[in-house]
């Protein structure tokens, strides 16, 4: 989706009839940000500037919203996004160890991306897969029951392979 081609009325749907122009513009903002990030992988400044122009929302306000939510990123991200679940169930079954192992292996801290943009390591509150704790996701794929060295090695090798 091109940023310049965002159709505010279509995006907001039927509710649009009830709203004024400003409300409609704001109403589609988060969705537009999500779309932009899906296309580009992250939110570059220049895209946000164009978005600001299209929606008629000041850039500061866009930054204010985008920086509040955890899913938006302003830096390029790795091709593989690895999320270690630190939800309660995973935590009590030892997801801290999984995270430490990944941090050591790839020599990055949680929240960082490797220099070659191969992978980004993150933590997540809960992926709702508590039955299989501890859980890690690689992009959308879920890996469960990561207890013991062999399972974690398997996880690392599947992160490494392209």
């Amino acid at each position: 989706m091109k940023i310049e081609e965002i159709d505010i009325d279509e995006q907001i749907g039927e509710v649009g009839n009830l709203l004024n122009r400003q409300e409609k513009r704001k109403g589609v903002l988060i969705h537009a940000l999500q779309q932009t990030q899906e296309d580009l992988g992250f939110l570059p400044e220049d895209a946000l500037k164009r978005l600001s122009k299209t929606l008629g929302i000041p850039l500061v306000e866009i930054y204010s919203v985008a920086s509040f939510y955890k899913m938006f990123h302003f830096k390029p991200r790795g091709r593989k996004v690895v999320r270690v679940c630190l939800g309660t169930a995973c935590y009590v079954r030892g997801s801290k160890k999984v995270l430490a192992e990944l941090e050591n292996t790839f020599n990055i801290k949680s929240g960082d991306t490797t220099e070659d943009l191969a992978m980004t390591l993150e933590t997540v509150g809960c992926v709702g897969c508590c039955g299989l704790a501890p859980v890690t996701t690689i992009n959308e794929e879920v890996r469960g029951e990561l207890v013991g060295g062999r399972k974690i090695e398997g996880l690392i090798s599947s992160i490494r392979e392209d």
């Binding site: 039927e14 704001k26 939510y69 897969c129």
Partner: protein, 777 residues
Amino acid sequence: MERLNNIENIRKVRADLVEGVFRPGRNVVKVCCGLPCSTLGSYKVAKALEDEISRSGLQIDVVKTGCQGLCQKGPLMQIEPHGFFFQKVRPEKAKDVVSYTYSAGSPVRELLYRDSFLDKPKELFEEVPFYKKQLKIALRNTGNIDPFNVYHYISVGGYSAIEKMFSTMSPEQVIEEVKKANLRGRGGAGFPAGIKWAHSKKAASKIKFVIANGDEGDPGAFMDRSVMEGDPHSLLEGMLICAYVLDAHYGFIYVRHEYPLAIKTLKIAIKQAEELGLLGKDILGTGFDFSIQIREGAGAFVCGESTSLVASLEGERGFPRPRPPRLSEIGGGVWGYPSNLNNIETYACVPPIIEKGADWFLSIGTQGSAGTKVFSLAGKVKNTGLVEVPMGITLREIIFDIGGGIINNKKFKAVQTGGPSGGCIPEQYLDLPVDFDSLSKVGSIMGSGGMVVMDEDNCMVDIAKFFLTFTQAESCGKCPPCRIGTYQMLQLLEKITSGKGEEGDIEKLERLGKMVKLGSLCGLGNSAPNPVLTTIKYFRDEYEEHVYDKYCRAKVCNIGVFMIEQSECILCGLCKQACAFNAVKETRRSFFIDQDYCTKCKSCYLACPVGAVKIMKEKYKRLEEEFRLSSESLDEIERRRQMTLRDVLASRPCEVVMIRKDSTISEAVSIMTQKSVSGLFVVDESDKLVRLFTERDIVHCVFNNISFDEVIGNISMRDIITFDPSTKVSSALAIASKQKIRHLPVVEGDKIIGMITFRDIISYLLPEVCYMAETIY
């Protein structure tokens, strides 16, 4: 899909379906394709089954359902009409399933559920203990139907509640029914949905919104996801009923972005419902319009709070707003219009209530909390997964009967309910019936229904820190009590778990926690200190161990003194390899840890294959080196060191012998002789303790020629020193020696508990002293 233009149409479609395509008794394999099972490969299993069926030429339907509950044993499978339940099905087994079960009519034995290796397998679905005690209302269809096909939902009686509603009920009657059923909000606070609906209905506005809260941010909770992914139409139907009541025409479902499958399923469900004329314009020819849109969250826990959710829907930062106005009032909801916000599970409970009536719903559960509740059982239990149980069931039944007990037969320590807003419930409350009110009585909450079980290997201070780390990071930063308060609390916990805790830190935590609770604007801050406060309440000894002894009994925190137990060491040298700081030193025939180099990183502890690396309290180490005591006897000594006067009193029968202060000395002497005691409590008319009368006072009277007919109250005596039963024996001894007294009156508040003499203490301590001496020499 053909549009259904009136209520008769949908009845006819359902009747056709039940008699035709979905007739009972047909061959169906229900493969669980919920997220956990599909992670374990259930789509491959379904594919293999379909191939195998087409090869065999049998007439068998494969239905890919939502979550069937027992996630741990996935991929799961239900076989109909036989009623068999298979677990851990691999694609290779597809052939066996088709040939054994459908051709021969017997189950595939190795796929059946067993409690343990030695137990008989359970053939039928109803026999599996995990499902036995469950009763499903909100999840009635989840795991039974294909969520991507609206006809499946219709065939099991879906949308019959709106049939009844449109044809026979007025909005007021619907509200009355929901009110009467006492359906309480399943999202956490337990506010009655009927009252909320009535409130929203009262608001004088032509435009109203119906919002479903699917921002299930609590770590450890996944019941809303299961409903959205496994039975989306029951949510849509519930929202439609609510919309009919409020005369609202627009609805939103706010789903967190971590649930892409839920979003996809809901989109398909909405599209199918619109095609059938169950949503959109002129629903079922009644002239009622209602459309639902999905709004994706963007990853903010606070957006599960109602006012922040509204802010997020409007495209703002998800800051909570002060109330009033409430959401249901003008100016409070989305874009200022009155809005009715309920949890996904609450909406899913509405259709059965309308269909079967409030009395049926009231007959389930407890008096204050009717119906059932879905819990996501996780943590250290054998069977993790999704359970729906009637309210009033005990925690023990959920954890030990349904959950199958603790893994590896460890000892249960606590269960955490309600996510980061809830609290930890200790073992003593295991028999607590679970409902909204009983849980809040013990300091926790029902919350959204997360239930995480912890065993002896979990450190409660660490758990409290974990939850606070979460809420601190998720605090939106709008109000200072939450923003700064949670940060300071986290710093304190950090200090305690890293072994730098000081006296007073625990009290400071408690005080801060109460202030954060009182001062915060929204539910996040109001409940963020709960995990800390409840763990301090029930596990204070663990906190004290961290602060005073620098020791973590669960060996989770990196504190304590690391030692190698020479008698258990097998000299493999792995600990030396593991240590990055060269703290493990090697001598000719042993390894030991140099405390000056040790950073307490636990590498050696984790590396040792035989568990010879021990973590112990600092003072234990000194005693161990000096007296060569085993850690068990050190534990015993530690326990005895903590002895109080209460223990001494408990060790022997004790009679409180009192005398009025207007009695004479001779009366006192005769009582003392009769009861053979050496001291008396002297009390006034209201039985209040005034002083003691002891043998020493008799000597004093004899020496000063005081007549034995003198009243006790008139002779001069020393001021009385009383002791609380919680006084440690050591300090009581010290005070008694210093004050030169032999009788120690023990008083709790105004109540006289008993008298302890010097001799009592000595005879109580003598065995201990001998024991000490024997273990030392």
